[in-house]
Symmetry: C2
Subunit: 247 residues, 2 copies
Amino acid sequence: MVVKSELKLIKSLHQKKYRNEHGLFLVEGKKAVLELYASPLKAYKIFVLQDQLPPFASEACAVVTDKELRQMSALKTPNGILGVFHIPVSQPLDFKGWTVALDDVQDPGNMGTIIRLCDWFGIPNLLCSLGTVDCYNPKVLQATMGSIARVNLSYGALEEVLPTAGVPIYGTFMEGEVVYGQPLPPQGILVLGNEGKGISAAVARLCNGKLAIPQFGHKTAESLNVATAAAIFLSEIRRKGQGPTQR
Amino acid sequence: MVVKSELKLIKSLHQKKYRNEHGLFLVEGKKAVLELYASPLKAYKIFVLQDQLPPFASEACAVVTDKELRQMSALKTPNGILGVFHIPVSQPLDFKGWTVALDDVQDPGNMGTIIRLCDWFGIPNLLCSLGTVDCYNPKVLQATMGSIARVNLSYGALEEVLPTAGVPIYGTFMEGEVVYGQPLPPQGILVLGNEGKGISAAVARLCNGKLAIPQFGHKTAESLNVATAAAIFLSEIRRKGQGPTQR
């Protein structure tokens, strides 16, 4: 049984404005909820159907009815468990090693995939422009899985933050230098741009280098999606030996 | 004005069974429809709202009402233009250069992204197991953009087709050899597995080599998504100089 005011609170978390106001976000699905529960993130409450009770006895768990879960969920078909967690405080960026910066990435699926890639490739910090999709958007969380708990996310105006970083800044551009042959320093920032417009002119001016993935197919091929491009650039940074030791 | 029987036909194309029965598929959105219209694919009919008429006068164009378009569309919010095209006949696979094979890839978004990657990296042929998602699924087409017209897709039982290929077969596995240092031949097949289960045991037995992308982050990081892994493996094949000249 969930009181009306709480139902209203949870539902409001579908919107960024209320996530920020309450300092809470929600995530759905057994795997993601259990992984965040086991992470350093602090759980506010976990709502679960009676037959889906997780294998931990916790005062944070509340059994709900199917109807209540449907009312809270951001999914068409809720999947039995919904966790509400406190938004962690962003750690100050230290720009040690490599950092990824996003210049107005809009698509939640792309954002989620990029967070997951940072986790895989050991990128501790992700700097997002103020126009980048909110990382606690439920659709972003669907795509990140538990990685959101392992990458430090920070939002800020790139034009202001980047000049203070003190490490080389590499932008990704269609007309950049082919990344394969480029030597890369042990520390740097990789900037990825908006899906339609790429990197803004103001941020492009701050880049010390421009990198590209060459095209091998038809000249008419669609440009690479920003998340698949991120995968290739991060793989190249690590292949060149710039970063944490492989585990 | 669309007659009832035609409305029924178009709607039936949301399902694979009827796409195969009629040899037709549908694609939505101005960019995708115009690109396929300009490709060698043969248009059956293009349905369009009066105010969205494309800049070509074609007997294939039929003006429809908002209500009719909504009835045909697979989208919640149709976007003004819906094209119906003939499914092209698959060309026989010649296994020249590199081929990608999918072993039961299920997610339409992943499939669409992989088709787009093949287009970018100049992979002419994509071989799909019989359990792989249908490439003419509307959600796949949303993610491929026009690339579907430039990659030859063929469905077949991998256990039967792969042994006849006569080129080395490389499977992608979590426990494979790190791809960065592996020399790769000028011709080969890259096999990508199912999102949850990876490559099936029967197909794994046919692999001459096993490749992996090393993990650099937390040991608990989520495994790479199959589409982002595809991006990195294809980039590695091309980086090593195995393939068409860069354009």
